[in-house]
């Protein structure tokens, strides 16, 4: 089939900044790119529940426990919204989960680091969610309608996540010497992996060019990383926490901070499965999936044989 005509309509829509909707014609590569990106994003939310979930039962106050529960729950919700956005592209949640569990699909490398102390919950909220928000705010204007709508809802819900993290860090930075040390240690450990979250430098990012061309992404990895550093540094200074980068200096000319690039060799190593927790994260997802199978099967069997809850009697 000659798709030139459709391609023109598609390009014209993008040029007018109109959203592409599920039933619109779209180039195969656009569809593939979206499925890959949205599902990676969804998997990151769901795997991201684990390092923080690790501290729910040990949260040190009732308030902290409720907040953390609600936050990790939100992440599950965000995974859910994103899976359904991906499903509008013609792939099922079953297939998407299968891709995660078999290691075909990736998720954000940040979640392969361990949460060692309660301060890590603060650092994740402040730094990791702070970095994620940069990306997510941009994605509210992404060119695929269901993805953009999911991001609008996600951004609305995320707004408390970074604040709760920063609040934890503030309390600890102003607390006992032990708490201060714990908070500083958490920043030292999470700073570099957080900078890696924006992806490789623009020059070495294989998928970036298409993503920008198709208006899936509207800003580059390096632009977002720079903005994150600019916003985060003063927040750290305010509560007396430092960053483990001797190269951090204000650059008057670019009106931003100069900073040292993270260790991209480590990034590649973690992405390819050798982070401190890669195996644990996947093992946990697989276990939850396997242990949930009998529940899903039973629900299906009950629905098939019993009219009580059937959709169409």
């Amino acid at each position: 089939m000659d798709t030139t005509h459709f391609e023109e309509i598609f390009e014209a829509k993008l040029a007018r900044n109109e959203m592409i909707e599920p039933k619109d014609w779209m180039p195969d590569n656009y569809r593939k790119h979206l499925i890959r990106q949205i599902s990676q994003h969804a998997h990151s939310e769901v795997v991201g529940m684990l390092p923080e979930g690790n501290w729910i039962t040990r949260a040190p106050s009732l308030r902290a426990k409720k907040i953390l529960l609600a936050k990790v729950q939100d992440e599950g919700g965000h995974g859910l919204y994103l899976y359904t956005a991906a499903e509008t592209l013609g792939i099922s949640r079953d297939e998407l989960i299968d891709q995660l569990l078999t290691g075909v699909a990736k998720y954000s490398s940040i979640f392969n680091y361990p949460t060692l102390t309660w301060a890590d919950i603060g650092a994740i909220g402040w730094l990791v969610d702070g970095a994620a928000i940069m990306n997510q705010v941009m994605l509210q204007r992404t060119s695929y309608g269901p993805y953009a709508r999911a991001m609008v809802r996600i951004c609305k819900e995320e707004s408390f996540h970074q604040r709760q993290g920063y609040e934890i860090m503030t309390m600890m930075a102003r607390g006992t010497p032990e708490q201060r040390a714990m908070a500083q240690d958490a920043v030292n450990r999470w700073w570099w992996p957080t900078l890696m979250m924006f992806g490789p430098p623009d020059a070495e990012s294989p998928n970036s060019a298409n993503a920008i061309k198709w208006k899936i992404k509207r800003e580059s990895n390096d632009q977002l990383r720079q903005r994150f550093v600019n916003q985060t540094l003063p927040q750290g200074e305010l509560i007396g926490l430092t960053f483990p980068d001797k190269g951090l200096t204000w650059n008057e000319e670019k009106q931003g901070y100069d900073f040292t690039a993270p260790d991209w060799a480590e990034f590649k190593n973690v992405i390819s499965g050798n982070g401190p927790c890669n195996r644990e994260r996947l093992a946990m997802r697989r276990r939850a999936h396997d242990e949930g199978r009998w529940v899903r099967e039973a629900a299906q069997a009950y629905a098939a044989k019993n009219k009580r809850y059937q959709a169409v009697a």
Binding site: G77, T84, Q300, Y302, K305, R308, Y309, Q310
Partner: protein, 98 residues
Amino acid sequence: MEAIKDSQGAVWEVFIQAKPGQPYRHVGNVHAFDKEMAMQNARDVYTRRGEGTAIWVVPSNYIVASSPEDIGSFFDPANDKVYRHPTFYTLPEGVQHI
């Protein structure tokens, strides 16, 4: 009974009414195996921040959708029927309650 294959359930469309009297708005999807579960899942996923007072759920495969190719034939014919809008009409100055 046919063999059961593990699955995440069917996709349902969720509509929420924010307040009584307002129209139901599409808010997203849930997966569920039956209608009671779909209703509960919609409640648990989409009304955690006081977003609504009523919910509709419907299996996605029961939604009938127009196609992008229909845009011209469906919607353009309405463009020249300006007399359907109140601003089309000329009224004498000073008239009230009309």
